[in-house]
């Protein structure tokens, strides 16, 4: 008989109760500090708000509350701090769009200079502030191996300014700067920009990817990162109902399909080498992931663009092969 494997499938799913208490993540966990507390102005179903809460609570837990944060400009900053309100219960600094990594490095430098070594530094940014305008400062932080844990909440576009494409937007996606008009079929097929792989190329101690579909995995990775020193990088896929055109109740589901289709590889790397991958339990065609999102609706109209869907499936297949994402397959 096959051994029974249990997975947490969502915060409130009934099946979660079959899991051991230590194997699941719950919103009501008593140790939570609610580092970003309720009442902020995120949209309904915001993946970034969910991820930020889980990430920061786990980081606070791991550091026993000895933590300060730096935030890039973006949705997270805007929806959490409309003066005179603030949703932050942790020390929080916002400077600019492209400089979160450098600001965090500066914070870490002062803490070191003053011997306040017990205080840890966490920096947060969206994909724009990470892979585009912030990549220079981030690469510098990696190269110097500054003692900062940097989290990218990747919703694959400039959602705060009205859903323009970013360097993290997938090919064929319909954004306000890649409308499928004329002969254009959404965002161009470039070569892509995998910041986790770029981070690994710097040889920093820890790089991981995660999604909001598996909060326990996300939490574990944050805990791992906070037990280490030097530059650490976590890239979290956070679906955006507004920008992706998904139902706000589908945020976790869409994130799960991104991983289960192989379109978004979930893995962990130490010192530049992949050390673990989150295997796909039941591979789903990319189409199943795409069809839930109106940003890809033009691919499925009449006549649609089956060739483009096929190209996207090819991307997922290559990612599955590269990271060895299928159960039972060696990497």
């Amino acid at each position: 008989m096959t051994e029974l494997k249990l997975y947490q499938v969502g915060t409130f799913a009934a099946g979660n109760r079959l899991l051991d208490r230590t194997e699941r993540t719950e919103q009501s966990d008593a140790w939570r500090t609610n580092s970003i507390t309720s009442g902020h102005r995120a949209c309904r179903g915001c993946g970034e708000a969910l991820a930020a809460r889980v990430v920061l609570d786990a980081a606070m837990h791991a550091t026993e509350g000895r933590m300060v944060t730096v935030n890039a400009t973006g949705c997270l900053e805007v929806f959490s701090t409309p003066y005179p309100e603030s949703a932050w219960r942790v020390p929080w600094l916002h400077s600019l769009f492209g400089n979160a990594a450098a600001v965090a490095s500066g914070v870490a430098a002062t803490l070191r200079a003053q011997g306040r070594d017990d205080v840890r530094v966490v920096a947060q940014a969206g994909d724009g502030g990470t892979v585009d305008i912030g990549i220079g400062c981030l690469s510098g932080m990696f190269e110097r191996n500054d003692d900062v844990f940097f989290i990218c909440y990747d919703n694959q576009g400039y959602m705060n300014t009205g859903v323009q494409r970013s360097g993290a937007t997938p090919a064929a996606a319909n954004t306000s700067t890649t409308r499928p008009v004329g002969s254009r079929v959404g965002n161009a097929f470039g070569t892509g920009k995998s910041l986790p792989v770029i981070a690994m190329a710097h040889g920093i101690p820890y790089v991981a990817t995660a999604t909001v579909a598996d909060l326990h995995d996300l939490e574990r990775k944050v805990t791992t990162a906070m037990q280490m020193h030097g530059s650490r990088y976590l890239h979290v896929l956070v679906p955006c109902p507004v920008g992706w055109g998904t139902d706000s109740a589908d945020t976790v589901r869409v994130a799960r399909l991104a991983a289960e289709s192989g379109f978004y590889p979930v893995f962990e790397a130490h010192d530049g080498e992949v050390t673990d991958v989150r295997r796909i339990r039941r591979q789903v065609p990319v189409e199943e992931y795409l069809r839930l999102q109106t940003r890809f609706a033009h691919l499925f109209g009449d006549p649609g663009h089956p060739d483009v869907v096929e190209r996207l499936q090819g991307q997922a297949d290559r990612s599955i092969a590269h990271f060895g994402l299928l159960e039972g397959e060696a990497r």
Partner: protein, 406 residues
């Protein structure tokens, strides 16, 4: 103790004695010798626990300073020219967040064409960034102003830029007295931040402010800058009490009391101007010179008082506000509004062209004889023949293009 030393090295030693927690920088001529000096001093363990960061850009350098200062550290950087432009986005951020970063600006021209030599275009480009801007007239004053800058910055929680002429001062070897450690310690108490990132007292720094409060935030910032007019002078007085040397303050008047013609300028050209003033006085012309040490905030009252008795004022700028005139000229004109004083706006010394005694003498005597324009910008050291030939060639090409495209 007076010592033969390069200006940059003396600045580095002075900054080290101010006990910074973090120095973050990116190299650019002619700032490099300052941060090279600090790198050595930190590595030698002569700056306590100071962290020296050589980062990936000037934008990164100012950003690291912002983080370091917000974490409660005394913070310093140095840059020049293109470097200060590259950090331009972060400059009003530092002032807006009330972080007392101190920065040396080794003044240099802005490209294109690329030019690494001295003028004041870089400083003028950032005059509205919410930073105090102090100009050093000599290397001794440059050194002294750095100590004063930390004092002023941390008292008002406003960042301060110390402008030092690139190469002319930064690379000049001369006798300089670097204030002793005991003197600096007597002047500069430990940094007490206005607000800081602290797990024991979590605060939100850098929230988004909308139309309902933004004006008030900016008004308060403006009032603080004006308050700095008092503090800059108080700090200069206190410096004099402890070190025994007059430097800093708002303006540096030289024989202006009974002067008929006064030259106004920034930075190291004041030394040249003072020499010429002495010569002209010997020859019977009542000349004077006024250095503006504190350019931001602008000391309107002191300028009016110093220049009010003159009949003509020559404002000599090492920067140009293309299409208008000069920034310094406009400031002086505004300050003298309603007085009979005639203000001549002059540009010279761009991109490292030396401001010579002959030039200053010619400007003052021309002004005295009424031969300088009182409304148009004068280019005092221009190769007029070359410029005229190029202008006529360009005009010809433009007309030809118009003709053929009709």
């Amino acid at each position: 103790m007076l010592r033969q030393v390069e200006g940059s090295r003396a600045i580095a030693e002075t900054v080290a004695r101010c006990r910074p927690d973090v120095v973050a920088a990116y190299p650019i001529s002619p700032q490099t010798h300052i941060v090279e000096g600090l790198s050595d001093l930190v590595a030698e363990g002569r700056v306590g626990g100071c962290q020296f960061m050589m980062v990936e850009s000037e934008f990164g350098a100012m950003s690291a300073c912002i983080g370091a200062s917000a974490a409660g550290g005394r913070t310093y950087t140095a840059t020049s020219s293109q470097g200060v432009l590259f950090m331009a986005e972060a400059l009003p951020n530092a002032s807006g967040l009330r972080l007392p970063v101190v920065m040396t600006l080794a003044n240099r021209a802005l490209g294109a064409p690329i030019n690494i030599w001295n003028d004041h275009s870089d400083a003028m480009s950032q005059r509205d960034a919410g930073w105090l801007q102090l100009f050093a007239s000599s290397n001794q004053e440059a050194v002294d102003l750095h100590v004063q800058a930390f004092l002023i910055a941390e008292r008002l929680h406003v960042p301060v830029m110390v402008c030092v002429d690139g190469f002319v001062l930064t690379h000049a070897m001369e006798a300089i007295d670097v204030p002793e450690q005991e003197q600096v310690d007597a002047l500069l108490p430990p940094f007490r931040p206005l607000h800081m990132l602290d797990p024991d007292d979590p605060v939100t720094i850098g929230a988004m402010v909308g139309p309902e409060a933004f004006t008030e935030v900016k008004y308060l910032e403006a009032r603080r800058q004006l308050r700095a007019l008092d503090v800059v002078q108080e700090v200069a007085d206190r410096f004099y009490d402890v070190v025994g040397r007059a430097s800093g303050g708002l303006t540096a008047p030289y024989r202006v009391e009974d002067a008929d013609v006064v030259l106004v300028g920034l930075g190291s050209l004041l030394g040249t101007a003072a020499d010429v003033v002495d010569e002209l006085r010997d020859e019977g012309l009542a000349a004077g010179a006024l250095g503006v040490t504190c350019f931001r905030p602008w000391p309107t009252d002191e300028i009016r008082a110093a220049l009010g008795g003159a009949s003509r004022v020559v404002v000599l700028n090492r920067a140009i506000s293309v299409g208008a005139g000069s920034v310094l000229g406009a400031e002086v004109r505004l300050s003298m509004a309603g007085t009979p004083v005639i203000v001549h706006d002059v540009v010279a010394g761009l991109g490292g062209r030396p401001v010579t005694r002959d030039l200053v003498r010619r400007l003052l005597t021309d002004a005295a004889e009424g031969e300088l324009s009182d409304h148009e910008l004068t280019f005092a050291d221009l190769d007029e023949g070359l410029a005229a030939r190029q202008l006529s060639a360009e005009l010809e090409a433009e007309l030809e293009h118009e003709e053929t495209s009709r």
